[in-house]
Symmetry: D2
Subunit: 257 residues, 4 copies
């Protein structure tokens, strides 16, 4: 279990998104409110953004509150899209940079809150046989989240007509086919323009996921987060088993899986 959040809107400094909100990811790391398992998200953190078309990230294995670089960095540049993650390591997948989110390739940024039970014994093996050499060669760690991202990338690569939402819709079918019986799948994927999120689970209750377009702290912006970043009451739950699409030119769009 982890917590994540994303921002899409007018350019803002990172500190405004990541550090200042009343129930920021920093607070969610040491005092989360809606965790199904675990009570902390202190096993590393990361934040992703785009430099032009190129994803970039800053990640650290320390708890988010303990990194003295984060505050000065977060006051140093602004972006119109931010994606951040605080990690609670699933037992068996140790603390380490290779397992710290967000994950990215040359175009996409990905975060995941949840896990696939027995992942090394079902999905990971099957997925490895299914991956193309290029996708397989790009995997750095062993954690389920990185593999979910690799599956999505291959789904996108093998059919140029697919968009982010299409790929996400196909994900759980593959997991089922590969033997996953229990999985928590709250996730978000971005191509630098849109952020597409999923609130879903297999054989379990869905992890929490919220969004807002009305938070006065973030004018004209669309945000999503595992837990509302503020206590304004203006955040809505994404319904279970739904996709949420944030697009700078459209209102948020919810569709059932």
């Amino acid at each position: 279990m982890c917590r994540f959040a994303a921002y899409l809107g007018p350019e803002i400094q990172l500190d405004h998104f990541l550090l200042e909100p009343g129930h920021s990811l920093v607070e969610q790391s040491w005092q989360p409110r809606e965790m199904q398992t675990a009570i902390l998200n202190a096993d590393g953190f990361g934040v992703g953004w785009y430099n032009g078309d190129h994803p970039a990230s800053y990640r650290n294995v320390m708890p988010i509150w303990a990194d003295p670089n984060l505050e000065p960095l977060s006051r140093s540049f602004s972006r119109s899209l931010w994606i951040a993650h605080v990690r609670s390591a699933t037992p068996g997948f140790g603390t380490g940079l290779a397992n710290t989110q967000p994950f990215m390739d040359d175009e996409l940024i990905f975060v995941h809150n949840g896990f696939v039970t027995d992942f090394p014994y079902n999905v990971r093996q099957q997925a490895r046989r299914w991956f193309t050499p290029a996708i397989e060669a790009s995997i750095h760690g062993n954690v389920d989240s990185e593999y979910l991202f690799a599956i999505l990338r291959q789904l996108l690569a093998e059919d140029g007509e697919r968009d982010l939402a299409d790929a996400i819709r196909l994900l759980h079918g593959l997991l089922l086919e590969w033997g996953a019986q229990h999985a928590l799948l709250s996730l978000a994927l971005s191509d630098g323009r849109r952020v597409v999120a999923l609130r879903h689970a297999l054989g379990a209750e869905c992890p929490s996921l919220y969004f807002t377009t009305d938070d006065e702290s973030f004018p004209e912006a669309q945000l999503l987060a595992s837990e509302p970043l503020t206590d304004t009451g203006l955040w809505q739950a994404v319904p279970p088993h739904h996709l949420l699409i944030l697009d700078p030119d459209e209102p948020p769009q919810l569709t059932a899986l």
Copy 2:
């Protein structure tokens, strides 16, 4: 605020003391029960022991639960004296190895749970002027705890008749003289043979401190800890404003300050 514990008795492996107890310092790091301030002790940890007459320590700025080296190390050697500490960084004294306990010199090991309010503006300046060059030169960080240890060392160095308990008894008088009005002073000091602990505070409620000689998990041993390591009900509170002396040849001795 922090949590610490010490063991004095027959030789045992570190894991038996540090990792296995039901309410071990690992659990006290993410789920302490009696903290006055803060809710975690995740800003580094350390453990000290003796190699012959020489103090040694292992310290890490990560949360104690996140260190993959700790489990194999803790199964690798046994000692008759262990002192361990999990840290909750006081605001203003950042995470970093120089501020991570236990502290030691060539003879002594020291741990502290608490803080001296406004320490940089009262005690630290006065203490620096009072220190001998050798003591001053031995200070590596800026945290109040390291200075308390330096004060105790100078008290011991300047009068060869003083023992550990004498030095600890003199500590709070110096703090008052140097302007400290509010301080939490739960601490322990060892010379490799005895462990002398203090439960004290200035202008505040004393931090918790317990001891036991009857815990069946630790036969024939004497232990002290910020919170009982087990739920056996066989741990007793050290009375406020009292010294506790653990000596391998004597029963625990409690004396009022």
Copy 3:
């Protein structure tokens, strides 16, 4: 490229093996003499030993000279078998604990100096398809060295008659079969009783590897190392394409691959 060393003999403290020799692995980390590529081994280090039958290790992503815990730890316990490694990260395989050696499972400890060129595109994919689920599930990082160890483990698991040397003899055949055309393969494998080492390469010059039984700093011991730990002139080169077997009850045994 990396540097490694192993000790088999009467029990000694780790510092005597790891820190004290004139051309210790610490010196080999910042001033190696026989590296084919790279000029430092400063991308992490580790040391392995046995607690009874169980392998244990201490690993850190910092340069070996920068770890303040290493000196006190290395004076704290003695063993009759030590295996240590200082890493020079191959480009593409980042610094991180999952890629830091030695590697181990429940019985074996393994170190590797070298690399398999184009590994993610040839050997890794083929090996993943060949691995049993249990072996595959045990892999934590993505570096070639960890996979070489996994291949050796599967070779041992699939035929109970095989010993360490048999498995090592089969390794390069599999690499060739899976398309490796260029590889440096200086490695050592231990089961807690013996240490079996290989000095080999495919399509390249073999990395350096030495051994000694006569070094007066280590009475009655057998050692091997990428570079001699001392300048006594009593270290011999392992001939290229040879296996070296160190057994506590036998003199060192060299056999051609």
Copy 4:
């Protein structure tokens, strides 16, 4: 001994200054050419800049080449002033964030290459007695470089007429007064507008220091560095015992101490 560099000119991305030059600080960390002592600068690194009037920094205790965050960060924002440092820890002053440069307060950024011999026994003690409470309270570590910065800040604070160059001119007099007999003093200090550097030593040869205004890689910029960042031959040595003032509206100004 360490290496540092500073850039003053049109806004550029950090990677252009820090990572791309042929003999960048990254190369100077593992292959410096003009070090008097030590052969590496691998004990941490840092870079400083200004957010408006406020200094900011990014620092890490790892070798500069091993930080996976540096490349994406360095492509994420541009500034007209950069100051960077790679550290070679002086024995006795351990690796740790508190000892990692650049140092800063609310207005100034400072880097130092060199050391004051016997610093804990002469300058540090005298300086502590001389510091105002506010300056003393702001010191986090124990390394000579941080104290040099504190001395400069107090020299500036106690006389509002003094500018950066005046303070630097007074520094070595204080060091002599406090008993320093041997010191290497290559340093740079900025207020966000100008960079003032010193190439000096007491009882020793001056550490190297260069500057340029003609390097084609950095049009219209002024740079200084411990070793030229490029092999263009367009860098000049700062003469020993000289101050160098870089001002955006003036040509570089050299004056004897």
